[in-house]
């Protein structure tokens, strides 16, 4: 697992390498990601191991320092971590959840991140995503799995005009080119 978390040394695998980005979107390199599944009964212990409160509502993000947990389902979290932190997190979870009733899968290499910023960002996202991005329906701090054209993505609203998108690596060039295409229409 230690090897898998070293994404920086595998730059040739980065789906968007060479893509510099523009005023709206830029690739986010590095970082480790885990898919965490925990039953209701172990939420407290898992939260203590991570230093994050996992008992919050579904489709919300919780952050502490460099650790972020996006609650994507009733028992599913996407953990976004610093690469150096990955092994520590895996070890502390296995230490605290002694009954073994949880699953932690390293998906650092499965997906890549795209940072989206600008006043037109919700319009650009709406080019391929049918969600309502009004702050009342999709407030800052909300994070959910959804769809962008035909690709599955995870969207996390970090600020009114700033989003973090997680996309599977093989879909990344597809999503990237469609973002650029839709973005052409917005001149901010």
């Amino acid at each position: 697992m230690d090897n898998l978390a070293e994404t920086t040394s595998l730059s040739r695998l980065f789906a968007l390498s060479g893509q510099a980005g523009d005023r709206h979107c830029r690739p986010v390199t590095g970082g480790a990601r885990f898919s965490l599944r925990v039953p209701q009964a172990s939420l407290g212990a898992a939260g203590e191991a991570l230093g994050l409160d996992l008992t919050g509502p579904i489709n919300r993000a919780v952050s502490a320092g460099q650790r972020t947990a996006l609650r994507l389902g009733p028992d599913e979290w996407l953990l976004l971590l610093a690469e150096t932190d990955a092994a520590t997190v895996a070890a502390s979870l296995s230490q605290r959840l002694t009954d073994g009733l949880y699953s932690l899968a390293d998906i650092s290499h499965r997906q890549t991140g795209i940072a989206l910023e600008g006043v037109a960002v919700t319009d650009i996202l709406n080019g391929g995503c049918p969600l309502d991005f009004d702050p009342a329906a999709f407030p800052v701090g909300m994070a959910t799995r959804t769809i962008f054209f035909k690709a599955e993505i995870v969207l996390w609203r970090q600020d009114l005009t700033r989003f973090h998108m997680e996309v599977w690596r093989s879909f990344a060039p597809y999503v990237w080119s469609l973002l650029a295409n839709v973005g052409c229409e917005y001149a901010d």
Binding site: I58, N59, L72, G73, E76, R145, T146, I147, E152
Partner: protein
Amino acid sequence: MLLIPCPYCGNRPEIEFAYGGEAHVVRAADPRKEDDAAWTEFLYFRKNPRGDHAERWRHAFGCGRFFNVKRNTYTDHIEASYRIGEMLP
């Protein structure tokens, strides 16, 4: 666009969901004891009503959960959505 109320995530656009067929189709506890007619009924025959229909949906591009929806197949009006294991309201 049709909005489907996911019991976990709330109202979400239809495109995020996958249809899972009629709900509450019960599989026999011991299929070997079923006669051919009853087994065929379970495998291949569905109600397909024009009107209220209890059906399964999966929030495939969302929380990933299966749940049940009571939908009118004629008007597309969704009366209720409820979790797997709960009874038809």
